[in-house]
């Protein structure tokens, strides 16, 4: 009897162990990098496809899809907006499933939706883009949208457009009210801030706790010290401990000590804190990139101000200005950027042809790129396409139009990357370096040595 009970217990334990073992094997197999099972092409001109992304916003996505459907009425596109913070978490399991998105956003470098991470879940779009633009397709597209969205020879995503940083945005209404001119040097910047502060008006705001924007400011300063040095260092061609970076880091520190950066900046995030503070008129200047161009449009500005907590807002006039010449070298106006998002076609999709049709139309056709350009959210990837300014309802066309035209043309010509050459580890190291210096916990050299250590570890 005792023996039989033992046997029974043993069998039960065996069953539990077997179930556990099978689950272990299944999950281990899943994690073993088995590669994506290839989906099927289906029809190139009809079908229902799903597009996942953190951008554009729902309004702009609807506009883009509506423009697409004028040419391809039988392809129904459903845009599913996912929060950027959780994008990677939800995308990862989704694109291993045939029920997941047919088209999904990817981004260069260490951003969310990084091509390096999700390359295995996407098809190579090289032949598709060759078919659409010819063998010299690379010369027709902005380099940032090609290099940054490729892994080796595989073109993982097609860039819809790019975003660039490097300049500042000012509230022109505040500057006009106090009869101020946009600062072009460190001394002018200090003077502007002193005037505004004396009148109880905030000057410059940055959420320095969100270090991606700190990196923008630092790259702008480094480019001011010597153009291109930052990118060379991020590629390991120049050490971060180079004396020129010490100068750049000291200038970064001076923004905090010389009354330019608002007090308590490292305790704030760029989104929503700094953005809301600027949109609600508490501050006259902010470090933002070309994506802010969309808020030069009346409706978008009103919506942004409402989102920032302003009741019944009167849209403010924002204009872009070059980053001031802090180092006194005359190297100003530098802009750097990456593809905002690229469209990747899921390797698991059963409608790859229709998905590719949509991706190609949005990113390589004149009509698709014109629709992108007119949202003012991205600088189009297809060269030669610019916003149709006369059809855009700016807040204050007289004050904004010329500045915006110059700004977008300058951005479109920029070749320097923003995050594409910065690994996730280096990105994190920048947080420790820039916030450490800003808060006085690290010297400039200590911070730069930290960056260099990470850079060397990557080799």
């Amino acid at each position: 009897m005792r023996t039989s009970m033992r046997t029974l217990r043993g069998r039960r334990l065996g069953a539990v162990a077997a179930v556990t073992g099978l689950a272990l094997l299944a999950l281990t197999a899943c994690s073993g990098g088995s590669g994506a099972t290839t989906g099927t092409p289906g029809s190139a001109t009809s079908g229902d496809i799903t597009w996942w992304g953190w951008t554009p916003d729902a309004t702009n996505a609807s506009k883009l899809i509506a423009a697409f459907n004028k040419e391809y009425p039988d392809i129904k596109v459903e845009f599913v907006s996912k929060p950027i913070d959780s994008y990677d978490s939800v995308l990862s399991p989704a694109i291993t499933s045939s029920q997941g998105p047919d088209v999904f956003n990817v981004a260069p470098g260490s951003a969310n939706g990084g091509v390096q991470t999700f390359e295995a879940g996407a098809i190579d779009l090289t032949s598709a883009v060759e078919g659409a633009l010819g063998s010299d397709w690379k010369s027709k597209l902005a380099p940032a949208g090609v290099d940054g969205l490729s892994v080796g020879d595989k073109l993982v995503g097609l860039s819809a457009g790019a975003v660039y940083s490097g300049g500042l945005w000012i509230n022109q209404d505040i500057f006009d009210k106090y009869n101020l001119k946009a600062p072009t040097t460190m001394a002018e910047w200090k003077s502007v801030c002193a005037t505004l502060t004396a009148d109880g008006q905030g000057c410059f705001v940055q959420g320095a706790g969100q270090w991606a924007f700190d990196m923008d400011t630092f790259e702008a300063i480094a480019d001011n010290v010597e153009p291109g040095l930052y990118v060379k260092a991020s590629k390991g061609e120049v050490p971060w401990t180079d004396p020129k970076f010490v100068t750049a880091m000291d200038l970064w520190k001076s923004l905090f000590t010389d009354g330019i950066m608002q007090e308590g900046a490292v305790g704030l995030q760029q989104y929503p804190d700094a953005n809301n503070a600027f949109m609600s008129g508490k501050y006259a200047m902010v470090m933002m990139g070309t994506w802010y161009t969309q808020y030069a449009v009346k409706d978008s500005m009103v919506a942004a101000m409402e989102a920032a907590g302003v009741g019944s807002p009167t849209p403010i006039t924002i204009t872009p200005i070059p980053f001031p010449d802090l180092a006194g070298t005359g190297n100003t106006g530098s802009m750097f950027g990456d593809a905002d998002y690229g469209l990747a076609v899921s390797a698991k999709s059963t409608k790859q042809a229709a998905a590719t049709t949509f991706a190609l139309w949005l990113t390589t056709s004149t009509a698709g790129q014109q629709a992108v350009a007119n949202t003012l959210n991205d600088i189009p990837a297809l060269k030669g396409v610019t916003p149709q300014w006369d059809q855009i309802d700016l807040v204050n066309s007289d004050k904004q139009k010329a500045a915006l035209q110059t700004y977008t043309e300058g951005a479109g010509a920029a070749t320097e990357p923003r995050f594409a050459t910065v690994s996730a580890d280096l990105n994190t190291a920048f947080r420790d370096a820039l916030i450490g210096v800003a808060s006085g916990d690290k010297t400039s050299m200590q911070a730069l040595e930290g960056l260099e250590a990470v850079q060397k570890a990557q080799k």
Partner: protein
């Protein structure tokens, strides 16, 4: 009432028999019940073993990989490299140190305030029910709801600095969340604000269990209120204090929401906890293997802390 008798047992230990008739039958019934109950608990066993224990084991396996977390990406086996890296990682050790003093301070303050509030509430104060609700409400508020409020309150232009200025303490105003030295204080203050209500309720319940005669006897013996609290009530609430200490330890090790939502673990890792560091390493840096290694360390700490506390409590009860 039948006397208990002892009988020899194959193990050599005496078996206490109640002498009640039908004891053997009851024993048979129990074993029959155990057999019949097995299928009922099997789903729970499969669920727990299959999900929780398997997940723990799988986390241990992932800790030996260099992997970006995407299922289709091939991981690289790196053996114990992630654990070696962890040993030399100052952020990891800082996170442990933060956890330790966060636990000591929040537990001590919460216990003191909760105990005093509970004692006061037992003194038949007016509007006692309203006080109870006011003290307990923070416990049921979601941190995600409160985080923007606290970020505003402790902003450089926030209400806390406004208050300090208006009571003549301008010298103390500062950007509370922007300095490593003060950000942790804010995180601890929010935690204490949130959880003191629970401490209070549990102490209040424990004090309700004390026989009034005991307190009356203390009074007759000449003990004042403070002496009664310290020498009678506090020792009789030891069980509650132990339970709160255990809950506090678990809570400290799992701390994530408040530092993540209010300070993002910064500035300069000044409010970094193991939870926030695991999240950052895994989600932002895509080092799933290293994050898993830290998770294993967290599990070990939790087990060690739980065992130590159980042993300590058992010793205290034995005194």
């Amino acid at each position: 009432m039948s006397a208990a008798t002892t009988a020899p047992h194959p193990t050599g230990r005496p078996v206490i028999s109640t002498g009640r008739p039908g004891g053997a039958r009851r024993g048979r019934r129990r074993s029959h019940l155990q057999g019949a109950g097995l299928p009922w608990i099997l789903p729970a066993v499969v669920l727990i073993v299959g999900l929780i224990y398997f997940s723990i084991g799988f986390t241990g396996y992932v800790a030996t990989l260099d992997w970006n977390g995407f299922i289709l990406s091939s991981p690289t086996h790196v053996g114990t490299a992630n654990f070696t890296k962890m040993v030399g990682d100052t952020v990891f050790w800082n996170a442990i140190w933060h956890t330790a003093y966060f636990y000591v301070i929040t537990f001590t303050v919460q216990t003191a305030i909760g105990f005093v509030f509970a004692a006061i509430m037992h003194s038949r104060v007016r509007l006692g029910a309203i006080y109870k609700v006011i003290i307990f409400v923070p416990t049921v508020l979601a941190p995600a709801t409160m985080a923007p409020v606290f970020r505003q309150i402790f902003d450089v232009d926030g209400q806390f600095n406004w208050l300090l200025s208006h009571v003549g303490l301008d010298a103390l105003t500062r950007p509370w969340l922007a300095e490593s030295s003060t950000a942790m204080g804010v995180v601890m203050a929010i935690t204490i604000w949130q959880w003191t209500g629970l401490t209070f309720i549990l102490f209040y319940a424990a004090m309700s269990q004390i026989e009034p005669e005991i307190l009356e006897a203390a009074r007759i013996d000449g003990a004042g209120s403070v002496r009664t609290l310290w020498s009678i009530v506090w020792p009789m609430c030891r069980g509650t204090t132990s339970a709160l200490a255990m809950l506090g330890l678990i809570g400290a090790l799992k701390t994530f929401d408040i530092p993540y939502l209010v300070t993002k673990g910064g500035p300069n890792h000044g409010t970094e906890f193991l939870g926030t560091y695991i999240y950052q390493t895994m989600v932002q840096q895509k080092h799933f293997g290293y994050a898993a290694a830290i998770s294993v360390a967290l599990l070990m700490l939790a087990i060690a802390g739980g065992v130590l506390m159980s042993v300590r409590n058992r010793r205290a009860e034995g005194r």
